[in-house]
């Protein structure tokens, strides 16, 4: 493989991995933006999305629906996974975050962590400890640019993630609810004084963020061909690193951060022993937090807000 194809190949890989990290990071950044807390259960929400995806897909496959209606299948799989996780996200907000909105930070973190442990073990008990194979409906067909091989599955996943990100950006900037979300994130008391129901706004945030994570979960399942109850953990840390790197609270920042983390990981795997690649992400995360805690696109948000 010549250098040019090698670069193209790695670029596609990075774009692919980066989009997935970006989608998960968006969930963090949105929730953080609005309640200034990390959603510790986000990794489990991502995994739950992957499981619902496989459940829907397996059911459709049994009826032979996949072959006859491929596009509808994809819509159903992603739609159901995202809808389920949106409900789950609201449930978590209601149980673990809402009652603690005025309590100490530590209490809120611990309750969210508790939910995360609960969900992870709940999925282990209900879906089993071992890997579950995803039906490989995306196939391995693809095309070549020079010598670089790109599958249609990769293209589909990249395009879908980009679409979701654009849709989110449009929602947040152009719709009334989206603007209410931004206003609440920037100044909660003022938002209330203008008549914004912040409970509702926070609920919506806890639907959209996790739903994006669920989409990423289905993508990971479809592409790598398996899911496991604890796969959320590593994605969670990496996506968190991405959100921090881009500047937590910033939506374009999360996308940028995701792409960078994806790129770093792909580069590392290309040239260096891949069993150490997870370590690099942590090192990047720690370096960013140490050198520039506000991230690349982050504003210097002060600790207290009026």
């Amino acid at each position: 493989m010549d250098t040019a194809s090698f670069i193209i190949q790695q670029l596609i890989n990075a774009l692919f991995l980066g989009s997935i990290f970006a989608l998960i990071a968006l969930g963090y950044t949105m929730v953080y933006g609005i309640i200034e807390l990390i959603n510790f259960a986000h990794g489990e929400l991502f995994t739950a999305g992957a499981f619902i995806g496989i459940i829907v897909l397996a059911a459709l496959q049994k009826t032979g629906f996949v072959e006859s209606h491929f596009v509808i299948t994809l819509i159903l799989v992603f739609g159901m996974a995202m809808a389920y996780v949106a409900v789950l996200g609201v449930a978590i907000e209601h149980v673990a975050y809402k009652p603690l909105r005025r309590a100490s930070r530590l209490a809120a973190i611990l309750s969210a962590l508790g939910m995360s442990i609960f969900l992870s073990n709940g999925m282990m008990l209900s879906q089993g400890v071992s890997d579950r194979a995803y039906p490989s409906i995306l196939g391995i067909e693809g095309f070549s640019i020079l010598d670089a091989r790109i599958t249609y599955g990769q293209v589909f996943i990249i395009v879908l993630s980009l679409l979701l990100m654009v849709a989110l950006q449009m929602f947040v900037n152009w719709t009334k609810l989206g603007k209410a979300m931004r206003a609440t994130a920037q100044n909660q008391t003022m938002a209330r004084m203008l008549g914004i129901d912040i409970d509702k706004t926070i609920r919506v945030t806890f639907m959209i963020g996790p739903a994006l994570g669920a989409a990423a979960g289905v993508m990971v399942g479809l592409y790598y061909g398996s899911v496991r109850f604890d796969m959320g953990f590593i994605y969670m840390i990496k996506a968190f690193a991405a959100a921090i790197l881009g500047g937590i609270g910033s939506i374009p920042g999360a996308v940028l951060g995701g792409m960078i983390i994806g790129g770093v990981e792909v580069l590392w795997s290309a040239f260096l022993p891949s069993e150490w690649k997870d370590v690099t992400t942590f090192v990047v995360l720690i370096l960013v937090l140490y050198l520039r805690p506000s991230g690349i696109l982050g504003e210097h948000v002060s600790e207290t807000r009026v």
Binding site: A96, S104, E275
Partner: protein, 410 residues
């Protein structure tokens, strides 16, 4: 039951159904409808119980009855608290000391595990409870202790006792390494970074084949030994006696646990302890009053890590085996659960929680499986209903309730 609660019951039950039925009912093995309905039923039952309790507690009849009982309750409670904590601890110590004499080997083994977790819980409490810093990678220090002893013993034949100080120092150094970059971070950042650090240490142990034998782990470390002078055969000879039996190991870890309780208890009431509390309550104010916050935060990490390291060394020598999978993230969660459920900052609470949380799941295989599920839920519920833990530390109780009841109100 008021109609608002009925409505809540119906809505919540429906949502639980939506969430539980597909996830529990459709595993890879096929349909599990009965199981799903059963799980749903359990949750709906809990919900009904809770809402019923809530509306009964809210009713006038209950209020007046509770009012009548209040003097009783407070008298009962007073009688419990009048006895100094020390006496309870002595009773507990006596029970723990007598325990191996009545228990079988398996039970003693469980007892050892419990005490290891007590030490870990108390060590983590220095970081979380006293200094108010969250650490989700605490188990890494346990790994450092275990691997320090294993490697030194296997390669250089150093004894358990000579490895202890080395392990403590190494643990403390690792604590500082983790602590240093995180000093300026806030609670939730800290949580994820420490989580990441914990994973890094595990990954290093897993990947560094040459040193650690990777996932296969290290095997064949010596048990701790104690030396005593022997006067037999004329002249004095130093004889070393290896603590091979479970009983002797049990007493060793009991000794370590007692020393930990004393150590953490003294820290709690020392100048340093008070400075930590000051940092926890208001870092800026503490710094302005001349508390060297940076140094003290590092110290908290280092001391917490040192205790974990001791526990780790003991653990490795007891098993004569160690591998990276002992030190996964879930282990950190278990230790954190012990601290949180026992009561952040409360020594008796953590001792009790360490024993109960580790021993009870040993009763049956079923309980083992559901252990973390229950712990996780308990942690979330606890934070909402009783954030100070089962046996609260007085100082913390005030603090955790402080911010409630201001402004807004729903």
């Amino acid at each position: 039951m008021p109609s608002s609660n009925v409505k809540k019951f119906i809505v919540y039950s429906l949502f639980m159904g939506i969430l539980i039925l597909p996830m529990v009912g459709l595993p890879s093995t096929g349909f599990e409808i009965t199981r799903a309905l059963l799980v749903w039923g359990v949750f709906v039952g809990i919900l009904a119980f809770w809402l019923l309790g809530k509306s009964i507690r809210g009713s006038d009849a209950f209020q007046s009855a509770a009012g009548g009982l209040a003097p009783f309750r407070s008298r009962l409670f007073d009688n419990f608290t009048k006895v100094p904590t020390k006496i309870y601890l002595c009773l507990l110590l006596f029970a723990l000391a007598a325990y191996p004499q009545v228990a079988n080997n398996y039970m003693v083994d469980v007892g050892i595990t419990c005490l290891i977790y007590v030490v870990l819980g108390l060590g983590l409490d220095i970081v979380v409870g006293l200094a108010g810093l969250l650490d989700l990678g605490y188990i890494a220090f346990y790994a450092v202790g275990a691997y320090t002893y294993s490697l030194l013993n296997l390669h250089f034949g150093l004894s358990f006792w000579s490895c202890l100080p080395i392990g403590i120092v190494l643990g403390a150094v690792c604590g500082c390494i983790i602590g240093y970059p995180t000093l300026r971070m806030r609670g939730d950042y800290l949580a994820i970074v420490t989580m990441g650090f914990g994973e890094i240490i595990r990954l290093v142990l897993n990947n560094w084949d040459k040193l650690t034998k990777g996932p296969n782990g290290l095997l064949g470390m010596a048990k701790p030994a104690i030396g005593y002078p022997s006067f037999a055969e004329g002249g004095v000879k130093w004889v070393s006696y290896s603590l091979k039996s479970l009983h002797s190991l049990y007493y060793l870890i009991l000794l370590i646990a007692v020393l930990t309780v004393i150590g953490v208890g003294r820290l709690n009431n020392s100048r340093i302890g008070r400075a930590w509390i000051a940092i926890r309550e208001d870092e800026v104010a503490a710094e302005l009053s001349g508390v060297p916050t940076t140094w003290l935060k590092l110290l908290a990490y280092a001391m917490g890590a040192a205790f974990a390291s001791v526990a780790g060394a003991f653990f490795a020598s007891k098993l004569s085996y160690t591998n990276p999978n002992f030190f996964i993230f879930m282990e950190s969660c278990i230790v954190l659960c012990i601290v949180v459920l026992g009561g952040v900052g409360s020594i008796p609470g953590i001792v009790l929680a360490g024993i109960v949380l580790i021993a009870v799941p040993e009763v049956s295989r079923e309980l083992q499986n559901y252990r973390m599920l229950v712990f996780g839920l308990a942690m979330a519920v606890m934070m909402v209903l009783r954030p100070e833990g089962l046996i609260p530390a007085t100082r913390h109780k005030r603090e955790l309730h402080e911010t409630e009841g201001e402004t807004y109100g729903e």
